[in-house]
Structures are given as C-alpha cells and as structure tokens.
Symmetry: C2
Subunit: 218 residues, 2 copies
C-alpha cells in the first residue's frame, strides 16, 4: 500500500516524518502543500486534515497528522529499525527529548506565529527574527543541558538512532535557517552532525527537496 505524505520543503515537522520513513525504508510519495502561500487552508487539504497543518500521512483509509503521532505509528507499522526504545523509562526519555522541540521550541517559530506577530503586534522583520532566534536558542540550550547529563552514545538513547535524534536534528535545521552560532551547543551540534552523515537525514533536509530547489532557482 503506497504511503502518501502531504508535506512542505521548509516544514521541520515534514522533515521529521521524511527521516522516519527513510530510516524505516518505507517508500512514499510526497505531495507538496505550500504553507507559506496558505494552501493548507484550501478546502481540498482541509478534507485531508481538518487541523490544516502539514504533515499528513495517508495510509490506506487512515489520515495521520502531527509528526510525533505519525512517527509512533510508523514504529507500529514496521518494527525495525525501532525508532523508540523498548524500555519504558528510555521510551519516556526519548519522547521527552522529542517534545522539547515539538511542544516547546518549534511551535513558537512557525509561519503562522511569525505572521501573527507582524499583523497583530506590529512587529517588524528584525523583531520577528529576534523572536525566532530567542526561542530556537532556548531549545538548543535545553538540549545541551540534557545531553550534558546523559551524553550521546553515540545517539541520544544509545546505539540506535531514533525519534529523539530526529527531533533534535530538526531543531538544528531551524537554527541553521536562522544562521545561529552553534558554538555554545557542542553536544547538540555533534549529535546533529552524526545524524546528517546518514543518507536518511541528509536527503530529507529542506534544502534537498524539489520545492526548495524550485524556489531558489526562481
């Protein structure tokens, strides 16, 4: 059964799911939804996902949304390689690390939030960039403190790359969009380097997607 991923080249949540699909070696077709142009609000897409966000993964009759829920579903769909550890405490820690960016850092820098700052609070481009930088650095600093207490070996949960590494790599993608200095976050940057040495991560990067290449060429 073909998996279809509604995503967007620049979306970090789409990046996370793309990596998970590739680590699992699950073939999928990606359908772009231009969230910068507001295509997620069109009725066609609303019929796919009533939350009107990307990504959505379509698997047969199931339409799955929210990157974390999709990745957990993929772990149920195909057991190997496991993206979540089997030990309950380790599994909780993997989810906690994921949620540092999914629930705390990343929601604050999405296009809808940046647009709202401009429209409702009269923020200018510089303020919006400072805002995004502030919350992205907060997320990086949190990760650095956490990795200091439990150093990667070599991945966040040990030998096996998984959910936590995917989410942390996404935070680094966001930091690089903003050209932030990663020197204060050596453990985070080192872990991300290890991830991006793997084809599943490297080929999932926003700048490797057809949508980016079209945008950059235009």
């Amino acid at each position: 059964m073909t998996l279809r991923l509604y995503g967007f080249w620049r979306s970090i949540a789409s990046f996370r799911v793309r990596v998970a699909l590739k680590l699992k070696e699950l073939p999928f077709q990606e359908i772009p939804v231009d969230i910068l142009s507001g295509d997620q609000f069109c009725s066609d897409y609303d019929a796919v996902n009533a939350e009107r966000v990307v990504p959505t993964l379509v698997h047969g009759e199931h339409r799955l949304f929210q990157s974390l829920a999709i990745i957990e579903y993929l772990d149920d769909l195909k057991a190997e390689p496991r993206l979540l550890p089997s030990d309950p405490a380790d599994r909780a820690y993997a989810r906690s690390l994921a949620l540092v960016t999914v629930a705390d850092a990343h929601p604050l820098v999405t296009p809808r939030v940046r647009n709202h700052l401009i429209r409702m609070l009269g923020a200018n481009a510089k303020s919006v960039e400072d805002w995004a930088g502030h919350w992205t650095i907060e997320g990086l600093a949190t990760y650095e403190r956490l990795l200091d207490r439990r150093p990667p070996a070599p991945f966040a949960l040990g030998q096996q790359v998984g959910l936590a590494d995917i989410c942390l790599a996404g935070q680094i993608v966001g930091a690089r969009f903003l050209k932030l200095d990663l020197t204060p976050f050596p453990r985070v940057a080192g872990l991300a380097d290890q991830c991006f040495a793997m084809p599943a991560f490297a080929t999932s990067h926003p700048f490797e997607q057809p949508g980016y290449k079209t945008t950059a060429a235009s």
Copy 2:
C-alpha cells in the same frame, strides 16, 4: 514506590498529569513549583529537571518530564484503565488530538511566552490577552472541526476516557481562564463537561489545588 509530581496549580500540563494519575488510581505526592515566580529556574529544581519546566514525575530513579511522555509512561506502568487505545490507528489519532493542544495551541500561551511578548515586543496587558485568546480559540476551533468529523461516543476515542480527552479538557481549562465564549464550540464544550463530571478531572482542576486557594485568599 511513591510517585512524586513536581507541578503548579495553574499549569495545564500539570493538570493533565494529575488527571492521568487519578484515572489510574496511582497515589502521588505533589510538590509545588511556582513557575510564575520563576522557581523552575532554581538550582534545586534544575537538578530534578534540566528542561526547567513543570511537570516532572519522579518514580524511583526515573525523572520524567513533558506531560505527554509522562502519561504514556503511566500507561506502561499500570495497564488499566488504558489511556491510549490498543489499535495503532486509533492510538495515532489519540496522540494527534493530544498534540493539537500540547504542540500547537498551548505552547503559545505559557507564562514564558507572555512575559517575552511584554519584555521584547513591548506588548501591553490587552495585547497579551488578545494573543492568548487568539491561539486558544484557534485550538478550540481545530478541535471542533475534528470532533465534527468523528463525534465523541461519548469520549473522543469511544467508550474509554483517555489521553485525548485529558488534553482537550486542558484546552478548555485554558479557555475558561480567559473567560472565552464556548458557544461556537459545542462538541468540545460537551466533551469537556463529560470529563469534568468525573472526580479525576474535577479534583485536578487548577482552582481545586491548594496553591490556588492560598493565592485566592491572599
């Protein structure tokens, strides 16, 4: 083994975990961390949770953080009553519903964000209230659209109350803090009413916590 919950009366993430512990009938001791006064940044608490947020659940040597990860851990710790369904697609849907507030609506209205709007963008009290209202209504509207497509029966996933209902009830707690009109969201409000008819929800409400009663009396 005693479970200890570091939480705060007003914290909606602490509310979620409190409900889950009570639905599971797991006894716990709650230790207040006053996040409005910044106690989460003290070194004592940083030693407990390097993310410096509430809640944290301490279970023996394990220190669990992020409400969603904690609730999943509780489902591993004590199987009944199950808070996540056993069918993979339903489990994904439960997590997606949870993440609508955990990852999209609620992160935008936390104290650290409201404080940052004031400090960095010069927002006044009215702008901050409008901001919180906007994102809370966005979350409610998303839930209403989702529940329209799959109506509660009687809970979000069917007969069994669980993770999705807990998170949705937390969104309603936030809406009531802001005194928002719930008339446009009858399915969400109806589901929350069913939840708060249960003692696990009612006694977990922020206004039922000792910290609120002390604040209100002072």
